[in-house]
Symmetry: C2
């Protein structure tokens, strides 16, 4: 298994991002994602692609009984164990596609900015549906289809380096997109909005919230937020398993 | 009341579009929209922005008891009365914002390619919710937010007139967009995906289907379909009033 996050140079660059160092509050979308969390008192939580474990730790701090965080990168899991350790959190090196999802086990499944690396989104949805208890919630944040359909996932610039506009193309040809992230070529998976949302419905979920991440007013002045009102980058979705498997 | 569709030149150009002349089957999205229709046997239908009345006629032909089609353009209503007349269809010149929505009256409300002219989408949602019976459906087709956020709702062209890509900007600044449609300046309203979908949930609807219109394979070779796989243009949504007002 090769994981870009296990590449030393890449992982170091990732570690230097403000959202890595600063945790949840350094992420522009956190104020929206946080509001979508249910009451976690006595709940069991699964985090798909837990990264540094910020969301696992948050779940425990807000009352969850236990959390399982899985991530395909051993470097991520090492860091999570170091900086977000807790007796009620289990961290495990495991890919989202390879995890053996137990039936009716979790009250909440979360996944933050990972599903755009997954080719077969519907298979993940089916597994999450299976592993949730009836009434359980699936809360995730995925790159917006406008963003993944963006040419090179980047702006078109003028000759002075100014971002002119966000250009999309080949929208309905979903699948692999080569992008540049932290100076490395990173392969992402573009899914159309139909694939992201309608597949949830087809798998039996009821959609409870659909929000595009929009920087809060007090963060819009930050240099890295300069263009964030110009195109949508992330899609936050809350879905519920309302009936049994 | 001024309505662009009551402008003689514009209306003539509109009348010459293949989707105007050919009716439902000439519209690239019809194969998808049609599948989203419920069984209409003995049902009451309201069509918001009925245009030529193609959908009204279809509803009657597939079993509906009665249809009310409203449209702000008197030219549209005149044409509908001429080409899609039926004893069970009432056509009325009336704006979507001005119609006096009766409580719990309709089993289905449809709206095809009209809501992107409406500034206050949520008010329409609230009215539709009110006017639907419990269990009733709201089926609509609205221009996709990627499309309405497109600069001039047009491609960026190279010097040879070839469409390079679809450029979006100012996505989160929703509201008025000046576009060119059939050689006239037409004002449309850009709504973000959050505004289109999350507002439905906030108004009490349950979302049953979300599909982006994609030309069927047998239409992709048509000259006007050349670029239709490159960016999404329309969003088809089916929502249900699952509980009472």
């Amino acid at each position: 298994m090769s994981n870009i996050y296990d590449d030393d140079t890449f992982f170091k660059a990732y570690s230097n991002m403000s959202r890595s160092k600063g945790g949840l509050t350094a992420a522009g979308e956190w104020h929206q994602l946080q509001r979508l969390f249910p009451n976690l008192k006595n709940k069991r939580v699964l985090d798909l692609g837990c990264g540094y474990g910020w969301h696992c730790k948050y779940a425990i701090e807000t009352g969850a009984d236990s959390v399982l965080g899985i991530d395909g990168s051993s470097k991520m899991i090492e860091t999570a164990k170091r900086i977000n350790q807790d007796g009620q959190i289990e961290y495990r090196v495991c890919n989202i596609e390879e995890y053996d999802y137990p039936n009716n086990q979790f009250d909440l499944v979360i996944s933050n900015l990972v599903l755009h690396y997954i080719a077969n989104l519907k298979e993940v949805y089916q597994n999450v549906y299976k592993t949730l208890k009836t009434g359980g919630l699936f809360l995730f944040n995925i790159e917006h289809p406008c963003f993944t359909a963006g040419i090179n996932e980047d702006w078109i610039y003028d000759s002075n380096g100014k971002a002119l506009y966000w250009a999309i193309d080949n929208y309905f040809y979903s699948g692999e997109r080569k992008t540049n992230f932290l100076d490395k070529e990173v392969i992402k998976q573009h899914h159309t909005l139909t694939q992201i949302l309608n597949s949830l419905l087809q798998c039996g979920f009821e959609i409870k919230a659909i929000e595009e991440a929009m920087p809060p007013e007090n963060m819009r002045e930050l240099p890295e937020m300069e263009n964030e009102m110009r195109r949508p980058m992330m899609l936050l979705i809350k879905a519920q398993k309302t009936a049994g498997v």
